[in-house]
Amino acid sequence: MTLRNVYASKEGKAIGMGGLAVILLVLPRLLGGNDYLLQVATMMALYVVLASSLNLIIGFTGMYSLGHGAFYGMGAYTSAILSVNLGWPFWITMPLGGLLTALVGAFLGLATLRLRQTFLVFGTLAFGEIVRILIMNWSSLTRGPMGIPGIPPPKVFGTELTSSTHYYYLILVYAILMVFAIFRLYYSRIGRAWVAIREDEVAASSMGISVFGYKILAFTISCLIAGLAGAFYAHFVTFISADQFGMGESFLILTMVALGGTGSIAGPIIGACILIVIPEAFRFLAEYRMVLYGAMLIVVIVLKPEGLAGIKGLFMPTTGGRRRTTLFRREPKVAAVKAGGSQ
């Protein structure tokens, strides 16, 4: 019995999910109180959310965005400024950070989503840079290049969350909620409309799907989730500055989605975990680890353009899953004929 058959069965799925849940829950114990490893795990959870949210735009709806780092930063800055300057509690500034980001995302969507793919890429890229430059230069609000230090940690039932373990659990809960929400959206009527748009815009609109409206919706929800992630990040690291949310960040998130596989739920999760672990695991290689990183990306793009989630028997369930699309589309192969009739 291959691993993939195990996944396909209901029991296999339940055991897999249960096992994963137990591991995630006892992870702080497993790591034996190693703060550094726990922080890596926390960052992983955060990037799982960021990559999954970008996947709403790229994988589900078939649009592009290279400005995700900016949305992430916008949530972080909003929450940080409100809590540092006004002393508002995290549980108010965090949702406000998300909402403001969603609002900006919706406006950017209105302005750019009528653009064709290539132009949308540049539009969002430029937007990301504008946000970074704005943060750098709006010193009276953002303290410019000095960044914002001393962001207070969140309080839960009156106690401040200060240890890495607390943060780990906080962000884990957030990540699970968001991934679950994205999963539900994907398999809802809305998700179907998104995928229809990705597959063929003309056909989608002749089904009565409001293409522009659904694009804006995907963009807005994606920005909301990224903005919330930014808020969690700000209160986790307690110091933020503009260079943490630049173009590099946008590309990193995009790479996670591409590496793991666009258009699937598992893809961005796998991609985020790998791309957070690799630079940490190969720290002894110093600068050369980026060579390794690049080489790995090239290998994946050449050998598995649909991303790691597409590897059969490893991550891909055989039933119930929607086929994954890919950023690096190949022409459909003759193999398509082979698939006929068997299912």
């Binding site: 009527r189 179907r192 409309a193 995928v195 229809a196 597959e199 063929d200 003309v202 056909a203 989608a204 609109s205 002749s206 089904m207 009565g208 799907i209 409001s210 258009g263 929607r322 086929r323 699309t325 459909p332 398509a336 004929v337 698939a339 006929g340 009739g341 299912q343």
Partner: protein, 241 residues
């Protein structure tokens, strides 16, 4: 009262005048065909009649309401389904998901279910392949899926744009049988075809579109006898019978 009444419809793409004042008329239950050569404006006309293409002027009246240049959703909600040229099925969605996408505007789940069952009865082939990805179907099956997807919004009028395009001749006959069956179910049909010979045999009434203008119209039987049409569409292009 006409179900769909189109008067003096004009469409421009930039400076190019694709439709130069087209009028046509469909009553409930009609099976109307629109034939014409490549570039005559057939697809533009269907586009303008389903909100996908903006018209410059004219009127599009459907069930007494004006629909000119409304968003495509308005047409679908009104009861018009457009089966686009080249099928345009959602290749990475399963057959069933494609059909659900077609029922996008219907919120009542029970109704969607019954439409789905009706489609599976009409196209047993699709029922066999309900879990298969749309992109892996054969051309003929994809065309059936595209038609079935159009029917999922429970339309009163079904537009069919070149359903015979790129399909094995044997399957073309089959597809046309389905179309006649759908017409017999009470759906009004507007069929756009290059295969004029076949179209004029199955439909009741026909329009001939030439470079953006209707040049002939009439009962299909009469059009088939018309010398100009025989020469232009049936003689050279006609393939069979």
């Amino acid at each position: 009262m006409a179900l769909l009444d189109v008067k003096d419809l004009v469409v421009h793409y930039g400076k190019i005048n694709a439709l130069k004042g087209v009028s046509l008329h469909l009553d409930k239950g009609d099976f109307v065909t629109l034939i014409g050569a490549n570039g005559a404006g057939k697809t533009s006309l269907l586009g303008a009649l389903s909100g996908l293409v903006q018209a410059t002027s004219g009127t599009v009246t459907f069930k007494g309401g004006d629909l000119l240049n409304e968003a495509p959703e308005a047409y679908v909600k009104g009861g018009i389904a457009h089966v686009p040229e080249g099928r345009k099925i959602f290749g990475e969605l399963s057959v069933e998901e494609n059909l659900y996408a077609g029922a996008y505007i219907i919120k009542d789940k029970a109704q969607v279910k019954s439409l789905l069952e009706r489609n599976y009865q009409l196209f047993p082939r699709l029922a066999e392949r309900r879990k298969q990805e749309g992109g892996t179907l054969s051309g003929g099956e994809q065309q059936m899926l595209a038609i079935a997807r159009g029917l999922m919004s429970d339309p009163e009028i079904l537009y069919l744009d070149e359903p015979s395009l790129g399909i094995a001749p044997l399957l073309v006959d089959k597809i046309f049988e389905f179309i006649m069956q759908i017409n017999a179910m009470g759906k009004t049909i507007l069929l756009v075809e290059q295969n004029a010979n076949l179209a004029l045999q199955v439909a009741q009434y026909g329009y001939v579109l030439e470079t953006g203008k209707i040049t002939h119209e009439g009962n299909c039987a009469r059009l088939r006898e018309d010398d100009a049409i025989r020469c232009a569409y049936l003689g050279v292009n006609g393939n069979g019978n």
